[in-house]
Amino acid sequence: MIVELGHFALILAAVTAVVQSIVPLIGAHKRWSGWMAMGDTAAMLQFVLTAAAFAALTYAFVVSDFSVRLVYANSHTLKPMIYKISGVWGNHEGSLLLWVLILTLFGACLAWFGGNLPPTLKARALAVQASIAVAFFAFMLLTSNPFVRMEMVPFNGQDLNPLLQDVGLALHPPFLYLGYVGLSMAFSFAVAALIEGRVDAAWARWVRPWTLAAWIFLTIGIALGSWWAYYELGWGGFWFWDPVENASFMPWLLAAALLHSAIVVEKRESLKAWTILLAILAFGFSLIGTFIVRSGVLTSVHAFANDPERGVFILIILAVFLGGALTLFAARAAVLEAKGVFGMVSREGMLVVNNILLAVACFVVFIGTIWPLVAELFFDRKLSVGPPFFNMAFTPFMVALGALLPIGAMTPWKRGKLGRISRPLVPALVLAIALAGLVWAMQTERTLLGPIGLLLASWMVFGAIFDLWTRTGRGDRNARLRRLRNLPGADWGKAIAHGGLGITMFGIAGLTAWEVEDIRVVQLGEQFSVGAYEMVLEEVHDIEGPNYLATTGTVRVTRNGNEVTVLHPEKRIYPVARMPTTEAAIDYRFLRDIYVVLGDPQDDGGYTVRSYIKPLTNWIWLGCILMSLGGLASLFDRRYRVASGARKTKAVPAE
């Protein structure tokens, strides 16, 4: 019964979305305030109904209602409760429902918080937002209905893929979707602004925090996914340039570009057309990502043929929205005129460079991701594009970005002089070179990657610190420290996020350059050394988990005779899904991880043991956390609220 109610709520939500995509649009055109206001009610209703549908599906998973096909295919009575709940979105249909739930949540937020927006802009944005929802409701109800019942009710379910039974991965999709779908807000506003034929500082002031929020969620989502791959897949890789990873990375790059270009629109009323284009493309890439992941087209052209209905449907959605928005853009972009005047060396100019680097980097990832498909369809060549290509073609953009970032961050608006900008940065550069030189002299390997990574990273981190310090102005140290504390959130956010990017880059460079790997057959009690550490495989025994069987080993790690840690790597078998998994044992530390994987027993009584010393791995995620925190600090900048209030009072006499 509850499941049917959920199904019904989903259909009602779809109908509401249809109404919301039409009525406010007409209202905005004819300036009928009642019709425009309808968008608010519809947006909230749509969210409540979708939430009800989502709750109904969650209920079916929690009580293990195997008469629902989706629950049968993805759950099991023995599964721990948290994974019963995360199982709701651990599959195609359920994850789409989550996607739409978040989409309607953003629509409702626009209705709730958008009180100070010009009513026509708001009504149009709500209508565009609803039309995206219509497409996805139709997709769900016509091709991927989560509420389909089984004719015969099975006794128990088929269990969720054991690799997905994991906290990191339980949280990964919701964050990623909050990011993907959060970009729909920028898209809706871009299209609404094109219909209005007007983009101003107020527009950017509204779009920027939403893009920022979406970007924060994407950052967390991508970091969670990468962390999961690191500890779960058994060899400690963190990024594979897999099509589905690229699918989440491309919107991230474009969202980062959009964040920065929206600043130019907000402060200087320039780069308008480009910002609109970016907003359209950023969400377009979210849709492309959904298409890539959901259709399986890039795994192989043949996977696409297995389920052409879904693939073609998403392709149509993609074509309509991206094509429609770009056509509108081509027709109206000329209306958007730039106002600001600025010199070559200026913050505006540097942000243009930032946007060029990020957008072209995204383009490189895009080309690399789809090239196997293009080559097969048009040139009849079956080929692969893998990590070696991406590392070579993508990395230079990030290096250039990192090298220019501290200078760009300190360049004044309108017009600047390179000499004046770079003077406060000289100590940062000197410090960075000294640090990198020190590490280069100390390391035993001959690789240059580590020191160069450190040079770039410390340049960015020190650059961010000196930038903050310069902002405190002149005077004695106490006064400057006081002013430092009172700097606006956006200044702090900028410094923290930029430093975080540097730290992530250093983590990647350090891990790549200085990793130690050891693969061998180990007898029980045998001591072996890996890097500076000695390890002993003390014993191996079998244990039984809630829904799996495991072989677990005990590895004692010492360094110069002092115990460092005792690790318990596991090999699990999930009998219901009939799938083995490895649970690597990891000793997380600030400067390095020790990563041990237990392999198969050998004929002579020993076990294969793979052990790694992975330096600086945690810096990769530490940097991601810092980037998110920096974003958060900017998001809560007081000036957003003050300024939006100011706009409101100004708007009143006009009405």
């Binding site: 651990g90 996914g225 106002k339 070559m344 505006e348 693969i519 994987v597």
Partner: protein
């Protein structure tokens, strides 16, 4: 969900990538074998190199690479040998020839175009005169009339 198919493949055979019995005794040759393995794709996996893959065919390919190295082949000769046998699909680093030039040149060419456009834009902005008062658009004029009539 994310790598489901690829992971199913991965764990279908409970073997691990690079087994101890495969490793060559000469560390220099082994290092070459490892870096070559990272350039070759496991044929049955999803976007995985034979260095990372646990599949049986990946193991065969790893052994083949080591065999060729022991025979005294240079790195590109080993790759050519494997490509000759399995097709260019095995190369994770696509060759820069024919249509693939589009792939390789796309980034640099796009960067040049973007820099050119960006440079042009910034130059126009730096030469533009500060706009003074802008005439009202037809829309705004109409709205003004409406307000004034009220």
């Amino acid at each position: 969900m994310k790598r489901l198919i690829f992971l199913l493949w991965l764990f279908a055979t409970p073997l691990y990538a690079v087994e101890p019995d495969e490793v060559l005794t000469d560390p220099g040759l082994e290092a070459r074998a490892r870096s070559l393995s990272q350039e070759l794709r496991c044929l049955v996996c999803r976007n995985e190199s034979i260095d990372e893959s646990n599949a049986e065919v990946a193991r065969d390919l790893r052994l083949l690479v080591r065999e060729r190295i022991m025979e005294g082949d240079a790195d590109d000769e080993v790759l050519a040998f494997v490509v000759h046998r399995y097709g260019e699909y095995v190369l994770l680093n696509p060759r820069a020839d024919g249509a693939n030039l589009v792939l390789w040149m796309a980034g640099p060419v796009m960067l040049l175009i973007a820099l050119g456009l960006g440079f042009g834009y910034v130059r126009r902005r730096s030469r533009a005169s500060t706009p003074g008062f802008r005439a009202l658009s037809a829309d705004e004029k109409q709205r003004l009339d409406e307000i004034l009539k009220e």
